[in-house]
Symmetry: C2
Subunit: 371 residues, 2 copies
C-alpha cells in the first residue's frame, strides 16, 4: 500500500491567489477541497503543529469558497437552509450553521456571515453548496441571486496572530470579539477581517476580495511578522483533532444528521423555524440519535493518520468507526474522532478499533483534548 | 515551482472498490474527482498512452458517481435538467446531456442512462450534481427520490476491449451498439454493461452495483485478459485531447454555456422543451456564442500539461485560453483544447499562447485529431 502518490495537477484543481507563495514556502503535500488546492503540510505534520502552537502561521484557505446570497428573499432563504435560529444574526456576526437536506442529512457545515441586511456569505466546507442553494432558489421561485464571488480567505493562526494583525491594521483589531467581523483599513484597502479560523490557537481570517491582491497581502503579513517567526502553515490534522474541530466529508457526511454530529447546540430545531429537514430532525430528537460523534483516544504507539475510516468493535460486533486520528506529541497518545453507537458511547468505555497497524484498544473521552 | 507534490490522503478523498488493486498495479499519481480518488497515470502518461492504443486497459472510474432519480415525476424532472430533447430516450440507451443553470451556465456534462420507465442514472462529471437535483426537486415539490446509489463504474478500454469482454460475458456483447447498455450474466451476477467510455479506442463500462464486488470483477478481467496484455490504466490526458473529449472543470465550467462548449449538437434548445435555462440559451443562439471551444495545436517542442490555463493573445490582446494541452507522440505536436473569441476562431488562424515555457505559436484546427 503506497501512502502518498503525487497529485496530478490540472486547472480543474484550481490554484488560489496564494499558490505561488505557498509553493515558494515549500508546501510538501496538497489535498483538494472545493475543487481547489489546500496545503496539508509544509515542514511536516509534527513540525507544523509545534510551530502553530508557539508562533503564528499564514494559511491559504482560499478553498473555503464563499457562496453569496443577495436580494429581497435572501433572509428567508438563508433561514430555510439551516435548523439554527438566525433571527438574532446581526450584521458583522459569524454563525456556524449546520445545513441539512429533507432527511436531516448534513450537506455542509459552513460559517455564515451577514454582510448587509440582504447580503450573506456562506464560507463553505467541501461540497458544492452553490448547487443546493441555486436549486432551492429556482424551485421555490425566490427573488435572490446566488453566486460564488471572487473571495479567498487567508488565515492568520497561532498565539502571536493578534500581534501580527495589530502591526498591519492597528490595535483596534484587538477588540474584535470571536466570530465577529469588521472592515479594517490597510493602505488604501478596506479588508474584511473576522476573528475565526480552523484552530484553537486563536486567529483571524482575511476575506481577500480580489484574486490579484493575494500575493501583496501575503507578503505584507510576512514582512510585518518577520520578528515573530511567521511561517506558512495550514489546517493541522493533529491540532484540529485535539481541538475537536470536525471535518465535513471525514467525520460526517450527508449520511449523518447534525444531532449525530454532536452539533445540537447549533440547532434550534424545536423552535418554530421554517427550514428544510425540520420534521426529520424533530423525529430524531424524540428518541435521541442512535449514534453520535465522540472524541477518542487510541492506546499504544503512534499511528499514521486514517486514509480510510477504521471499524470499531465490541465483542466482534460493529459499533462505530474512527474517521480522524493522529499521534499527539503534546498529549503523548493517539487522539481521534469517531461515530459511536449509543450503547457504547459513555465516557470511559473501552472498545477495539481495527487500524492498519492491527487491533488497538480505544477509549471514549469526555470531550476533546483542548476545550 | 514544484510540479507534483504528494496528495494528503484522508477518508474525505474516498477510496473506490478498486483502490487496493490500483495501488498493487502501481498507480503513480492521483487526482480527486467527485471527492474520490481517480488515477491519472501508472507507468507514465506516454507509456500508458501507447498501451491504451494497442491493447486493453482496466480503468477505475468509480468517481463517475451515479445520481439516481426515481419516482412518478422522474421523467419530468430529468427533462427539466437538460436542453437535450429526451422524448426518444428509450430504456437501455445512454445520452450525453449538458446540464445548465438558469443562466445557461454548465453545471455538469453527465451521461444519462434510462434504466426503467421511471428510473434514471446520471453518470456524472466532477461537481455535486446531487445537490442541484435535490434542491430543484425539493423546491418544485416533485414526487421523486434522488440519491447516490452504491454503483462504481469500471472501464475496459482499448482495441482489445471487445475481445476481453466476450471472454467474460460471451459473444453477444459484440452486438451491443455504442451508447447502449444491457444486463449480461457473469457467474451468478447480472452485470449492467454499457458500450461507452472516456477514450476513442473503443470499450465498455461495467456499472458495479456493490462495493464489495469490486476486487472480484477486477481480478476476473485480469485473468481473462492475461493473453491480451491487459494492464491497469486510466483516462489518458494525451489520448482524450487527441480525441476531443472535453473535461468539465478544465475545458468548461459554469461560466460557459453548452453552445460555447461546442455541445450544440446535444442541445435541442429551439424545440418546445421545458428545461431550466432555456430562455438564456435561446438568447445566446440569436447572435451565436461570443466564444467557443476549439481544438488546437501548439507549435514547437514538447510542453508539460497545463496546471493552470494559459492565456492566448493576438497583437497583445487577450482572445482566449488553453485549458488542456499535452505532447502527442503519434501526431508529433502539442495537441490542445481552448476557449477562443469568435473573431479569432477560424481554422488556420495563428495566435500566441503564453506557456510556462514562454510564448508559442498556436494554430486553430478544424476539429480534434481523432474523429
Amino acid at each position: 500500500m503506497i501512502q502518498s502518490p503525487p497529485i496530478g495537477l490540472s486547472p480543474r484543481l484550481r490554484s488560489t491567489p496564494f499558490t505561488k507563495r505557498v509553493e515558494e514556502a515549500g508546501v510538501s503535500s496538497y489535498t483538494v477541497y472545493n475543487h481547489m488546492l489546500l496545503p496539508t503540510s509544509f515542514a511536516s505534520l509534527e513540525a507544523d503543529y509545534v510551530h502553530l502552537k508557539n508562533a503564528v502561521q499564514i494559511w491559504d484557505v482560499a478553498c473555503e469558497r464563499q457562496i453569496e446570497v443577495t436580494g429581497p428573499d435572501a433572509g428567508w432563504l438563508v433561514q430555510m437552509l439551516t435548523p439554527r435560529d438566525l433571527s438574532n444574526l446581526k450584521i458583522g456576526k459569524c454563525y456556524y450553521v449546520p445545513m441539512v437536506d429533507e432527511n436531516g442529512g448534513m450537506l455542509n457545515d459552513p460559517v455564515l456571515l451577514r454582510l448587509e441586511e440582504d447580503r450573506y456569505w456562506f464560507s463553505i466546507a467541501d461540497s458544492d453548496l452553490l448547487y443546493w442553494i441555486k436549486g432551492l432558489a429556482y424551485g421555490l421561485k425566490l427573488n435572490v441571486k446566488v453566486r460564488e464571488p471572487d473571495v479567498s480567505p487567508l488565515g492568520i493562526q497561532g498565539p502571536k496572530a493578534e500581534d501580527l494583525m495589530a502591526q498591519i491594521v492597528g490595535d483596534q483589531i484587538r477588540h474584535l470579539p470571536f466570530f465577529n467581523f469588521k472592515r479594517f483599513n490597510f493602505n488604501s484597502l478596506d479588508l474584511l477581517i473576522a476573528r475565526s479560523g480552523y484552530s484553537k490557537q486563536g486567529g483571524f481570517e482575511i476575506y481577500v476580495e480580489d484574486f490579484k491582491l493575494g500575493e501583496t497581502i501575503w507578503d505584507t503579513l510576512f514582512e510585518a511578522g518577520a520578528n515573530m517567526d511567521v511561517k506558512a502553515g495550514c489546517p493541522n490534522l493533529i491540532e484540529r483533532i485535539e481541538a475537536g474541530l470536525l471535518s465535513y466529508g471525514n467525520d460526517m457526511t450527508n449520511d449523518h444528521t447534525p444531532h449525530q454530529s454532536g452539533l445540537s447546540k447549533f440547532c434550534d430545531t424545536k423552535k418554530a423555524i421554517k427550514c428544510v429537514g425540520r420534521e426529520s430532525l424533530l423525529e430524531e430528537i424524540e428518541n435521541g440519535p442512535w449514534r453520535q460523534i465522540r472524541f477518542l483516544e487510541i492506546l499504544g504507539k503512534p499511528l499514521a493518520p486514517c486514509r480510510d475510516s477504521w471499524d470499531i468493535r465490541k465483542n466482534n460486533i460493529f459499533v462505530g468507526k474512527v474517521t480522524s486520528a493522529a499521534w499527539s506529541p503534546d498529549f503523548k497518545t493517539n487522539v481521534a474522532i469517531g461515530m459511536i453507537h449509543r450503547d457504547h458511547w459513555e465516557p470511559g468505555t473501552v472498545l477495539i478499533v481495527e487500524t492498519p497497524d492491527g487491533s488497538r484498544e480505544l477509549s471514549i473521552k469526555n470531550g476533546p483534548m483542548i476545550e
